[in-house]
C-alpha cells in the first residue's frame, strides 16, 4: 500500500466505471430499443448500485455486478409495467442507426429478439455486444455456465427460425407482387 498505488487505483476505478457505464448504455439500448428509456434504465441502475455499493466485493470484477443490477432493474420495470396494464407493454419502434440497407433487417432482428423468452434474449444480447465472456455473462445473469450456454444456443436457433420465417414471408410478398404485375 502506498500513496502512488492509491492514486493509481483511484484513476483506474474512475476509468473502469466510465467504461462499464458505456457498456450498460449499449445493453440498455438493445433491451429497451429506445434511447430515452435506455438512459433512464442506466440511471436507475446507477442509483441502485450506489445504494448497494457495500454489496460489491473489492477485488472482484465490477462488470457482472453492475450488469446483474441492470437485469434486476429491467425485470422489475417490466413487472411494474405489466401490473399497470393487463396487456403486454407496447414495444417502441427501435431507434436504429441511419444505414438504409440494414435498417429494416435490424428492426426485424430486434422484433424477433423480443419474441424470445427473457432467459434466451439476455444471453444473446450480452454475447452479441461482446461485453463479457461466457463465464462472466453467466455470473451476471446468476445462472450456471451450462445453463447459460444452453440458453444461448437455444435462443440463437430460435432467433434464426423466426428470422427465416420473416425472410420467407418477404420472399412470398415479392413473388406475389411479381405475379400480379
Amino acid at each position: 500500500m502506498s500513496v502512488n498505488h492509491n492514486l493509481r487505483d483511484a484513476v483506474s476505478l474512475t476509468s473502469e466505471v466510465t467504461h462499464h457505464v458505456a457498456r450498460l448504455r449499449r445493453y440498455a439500448l438493445v433491451l429497451t430499443r429506445d434511447m430515452t428509456a435506455a438512459e433512464d434504465l442506466v440511471q436507475e441502475t446507477l442509483l441502485k448500485a450506489i445504494s448497494k455499493a457495500d454489496s460489491w466485493q473489492p477485488g472482484t470484477d465490477l462488470r457482472p455486478w453492475l450488469f446483474r443490477i441492470m437485469h434486476n432493474t429491467f425485470v422489475s420495470d417490466l413487472r411494474r409495467a405489466k401490473t399497470r396494464s393487463d396487456a403486454a407493454p407496447d414495444l417502441p419502434d427501435p431507434v436504429v442507426p441511419d444505414h438504409q440497407q440494414t435498417q429494416l433487417e435490424l428492426k426485424q432482428v430486434l422484433d424477433a429478439l423480443h419474441q424470445l423468452p427473457e432467459a434466451q434474449r439476455k444471453p444473446i444480447i450480452l454475447i452479441a455486444l461482446r461485453e463479457m465472456s461466457y463465464a462472466e455473462a453467466a455470473r451476471a445473469l446468476d445462472v450456471p455456465l451450462g445453463t447459460f450456454m444452453s440458453r444461448l444456443g437455444r435462443g440463437r436457433e430460435a432467433l434464426r427460425r423466426i428470422m427465416s420465417g420473416v425472410s420467407k414471408s418477404k420472399l412470398a410478398v415479392l413473388n406475389n407482387k411479381e405475379k400480379s404485375s
Binding site: 449499449r26 446507477l46 450506489i50 457495500d54 442507426p97 455486444l129
Partner: protein, 265 residues
C-alpha cells in the same frame, strides 16, 4: 436443403460452433471446425446467421456511443465511483486478514510515521530510499490539504467542541493525564470519509501517543477491540457509541487496554 436439415436440433447445443462464432475457439480446434463447416451446409448456415444477427445487435448497441453526455448520468457515475472507493477503503480497514494493513491505513490518516511505515509495508528493496522520501513528502502535502483546524494544548475545550459539531457526535476530551500523558495538540482533518480528529500526547520521557477519532459509518458492522503491532508500536482500534477510535503508543498490551478504557470509558 429442407428446413429439417437446416435446423438440426443438435446445432443449438454445439458449443464448439458457438465458440467459433464468438471468437473464443482454441486455435488448435480452428482447422477442424473450418473443415467441418466446409462439409456441413447446416452448420455453415447456422454459424453464418448467428454471426449476422450478432453483428446487427452489436450495431444497435453501438449506436448508443454517439449520444450526447447526459449530465445526470455523469453525476451518478461520479457518485458511484466515490461510493466504491469508500467501499474499497472500508474493506481494507475491516478485513481480519489485513488487520495490520488496516491499522496502517488509519495511521496514514493520522499522519504518523509515513516514511517508516511505507518502508515497512513495501519492503526495503521495493524502491530506492529517495523514492520513500518523495512519497513521505507527498503524504505530508496531502495531509496539509486535508487539515481543517488545529489546536494547541490550551485550546482543548474548543477543539472537542469543534470536533463534536463537525462529527455530529459528542466528543469528550481524552483524559490521559493520570497515566502521565499531557495533550500537546489536536487536529481536525477533512478526509474523504468525513471528519477525523487527532490528539497528540506526550509523557515526561518524551514517549508519544496518537489518538484518532472519527464517526462510525452505520453501514459498516461494529468491530471489536483489537491490538496489533505495527512497525514496533502498538495500535489499538475499536468503536464505541458511534465513534471509531485508533490509539497508537509504544506501551504494553495491558497499558494499551487501560489507555483505551480511559479514552472511551
Amino acid at each position: 436443403m429442407t428446413d429439417n436439415k437446416q435446423f438440426d436440433p443438435e446445432l443449438e447445443a454445439d458449443t464448439e460452433l458457438m465458440a467459433y462464432v464468438d471468437g473464443t475457439l482454441p486455435p488448435d480446434r480452428m482447422n477442424a471446425v473450418e473443415a467441418r463447416l466446409a462439409a456441413d451446409p447446416a452448420a455453415r448456415a447456422a454459424t453464418s446467421a448467428w454471426r449476422h444477427h450478432d453483428n446487427l445487435i452489436r450495431q444497435m448497441g453501438q449506436s448508443a456511443d454517439g449520444q450526447p453526455v447526459n449530465l445526470r448520468t455523469a453525476a451518478l457515475e461520479r457518485e458511484l465511483v466515490a461510493k466504491l472507493r469508500a467501499r474499497k477503503r472500508r474493506a481494507m480497514m475491516f478485513s481480519p486478514v489485513l488487520g495490520q494493513v488496516a491499522a496502517a491505513v488509519f495511521l496514514f490518516a493520522a499522519g504518523w510515521g509515513a516514511h517508516a511505515m511505507i518502508t515497512e509495508m513495501r519492503g526495503p528493496a521495493s524502491y530506492p530510499q529517495f523514492v520513500n522520501a518523495a512519497i513521505a513528502e507527498h503524504t505530508a502535502y496531502r495531509q496539509a490539504n486535508l487539515l481543517q483546524a488545529s489546536f494547541t494544548s490550551d485550546e482543548m475545550d474548543r477543539a472537542v467542541e469543534w470536533m463534536s459539531e463537525q462529527m455530529q457526535r459528542k466528543i469528550s476530551s481524552p483524559k490521559l493525564e493520570q497515566y502521565g500523558y499531557q495533550v500537546q495538540s489536536a487536529r481536525l482533518l477533512n478526509t474523504e470519509e468525513g471528519p477525523l480528529g487527532i490528539f497528540y500526547f506526550l509523557d515526561a520521557e518524551g514517549q508519544t501517543i496518537t489518538l484518532a477519532v472519527k464517526p462510525h459509518d452505520d453501514s459498516v458492522p461494529d468491530y471489536r477491540f483489537r491490538i496489533v503491532d505495527v512497525n514496533n508500536e502498538r495500535l489499538a482500534y475499536w468503536n464505541d457509541e458511534g465513534l471509531d477510535y485508533s490509539l497508537l503508543a509504544n506501551v504494553t498490551t495491558a497499558m494499551m487496554t487501560t489507555l483505551a478504557a480511559a479514552v472511551s470509558p
